[in-house]
Symmetry: C2
Subunit: 290 residues, 2 copies
């Protein structure tokens, strides 16, 4: 069987899904096994504004940002992510001959998540606790369902929300959901594509791309990441800590975006050389000075 590639396409402003779908179709025709994950933040914000319930952002004390998700926001979120964008991608892929199947994390309990009990947030310089947010993170993936779909020649197109074990839909970060999906599927490669070229050492200097996260050191990359990029770096680290061999944070824009990311354009995270149990024990003995 071909190795699996998980491709996350961001939902930021200006990302054109059509060339992405064309490129996915080329890869699938060439026999690649692809799982697509997508976001939809920009269109959710636009629709929320139009429906008179403008988006709000939560900033954690450590600077991570996330969407404030009350019931009405989740409703709009679900319409845009599961309805408009997911079905548009599935339709585009089918036009290009791909047997795509769209699923949210709710469906079949594909992405089971844990809801945050309370979120510490910075508001007007003070730390507050938010207790009613419908958000959390994915902790389990139904890899059996995805494998069954891949083996029957289908291309899964996945989107938040996820769902708790007791059935409540929750907003989750799609980059990290893609990361755990890639880990559980034992994917070889995870691409996190959005409207930025990768992690910049200086966010104001587009030429300061950190190309090799391993050479730079994950700590350095993590420190350089700002705003939404923080989640992407976290996702990349989680995937590498899983079984994924390579993660590329790269651009979703321009011609051949997937092809460019696959050849390493962007910020590349690579799994360290595989260490056997004996080597690992030896290495740990050295580190621990025993």
């Amino acid at each position: 069987m071909q190795p699996i590639t998980v491709i996350k396409i961001g939902g930021g402003e200006g990302i054109d899904l059509q060339p992405i779908c064309e490129e996915v179709a080329q890869l699938v025709r060439a026999g690649q096994r692809i799982v697509l994950v997508h976001g939809g933040s920009h269109e959710t914000n636009t629709l929320s504004e139009r429906l008179g319930h403008p988006p709000r952002t939560i900033v954690s004390p450590s600077g991570h940002t996330s969407r404030r998700t009350d019931r009405q926001t989740l409703d709009t979120f679900t319409m845009v992510y599961c309805g408009r964008i997911n079905k548009r991608i599935v339709e585009d892929l089918r036009v290009h001959g791909v047997d795509a199947i769209g699923l949210s994390g709710i469906d079949g309990g594909l992405w089971t998540g844990e809801r945050k009990k309370a979120i510490r947030a910075i508001e007007d310089g003070r730390t507050v606790l938010i207790r009613d947010d419908l958000s959390g993170k994915v902790v389990a993936v139904d890899a059996t369902l995805l494998t069954m779909l891949l083996e029957s020649g289908r291309t899964p197109v996945l989107t938040p929300p996820a769902v708790t074990a007791d059935g409540v839909a929750i907003n989750v970060d799609a980059d990290r959901a893609a990361a755990i999906t890639a880990s559980k599927l034992e994917a070889e490669t995870l691409l996190l594509l959005s409207n930025v070229p990768g992690v910049l050492a200086d966010p104001n200097d587009p030429d300061s791309l950190i190309a090799d996260a391993n050479s730079a050191g994950f700590d350095t990359v993590r420190a350089a990441a700002m705003g939404r990029m923080k989640n992407k770096v976290l996702a990349a680290e989680e995937a590498i800590a899983g079984s994924v061999r390579r993660v590329v944070i790269g651009s979703a824009n321009g011609d051949n975006a997937i092809g460019r990311a696959l050849t390493g354009r962007g910020t590349v995270f690579a799994a360290q050389q595989i260490v056997t149990t004996t080597e690992h024990a030896t290495a740990r003995a050295i580190v621990e000075g025993s």
Copy 2:
């Protein structure tokens, strides 16, 4: 294996999905195999109004009504049907312990349809031709995918749109989509539940329910049906002409709506006594006078 029941829940005003989901959960817990199909017309109309693109209705020369579906309408339609309502039902079912999985007809090519090339419509008393409508009807169902899901203990929750063989999403009538799904799955029973109690002999007299479509005669039932009920009667006839043993057009409202329909409350269509091939040949010989 338990026989399959296909239950279509209408998307008209005032239908409360929560008790329906509870009842489905009871049936699934009791070992029944259920496929749920839903509409979403009322909420689509409401959202279309809010987004400044009010719904329009096409009336055919024979009096059938359907939604005028341009690209923008299909976009809103997909948000409401596939996003809001489908995921709300899946979430509700999961809260009640059902491993529900939501799919549109686009996903995996579940409902392959034929797009109408031109629609004859009555506008201001004149017949006009509409050529750019994104609508059609389902002609094939991927019963293998549905059976695979049912056999793995999942409950499929299905919704329009369908998709053409070359990948274009099309609006289809959900009652008739449920009918062909029931036929292809060789379901025993099809329930078509909405905010009316069944087919009325006199649409202005709620006590004029036609309880037994076979005794009344399908021609009489068809002639009595007005507006959206025409599609339900057509769907019922199509299911019976398929392999479905029994179709009930009944109410989705009140306590125990599914249970009441299953016990025959509504307008019941029953397959005629099963005729063996020999009997069929004999019968045809008699009819044909040879």
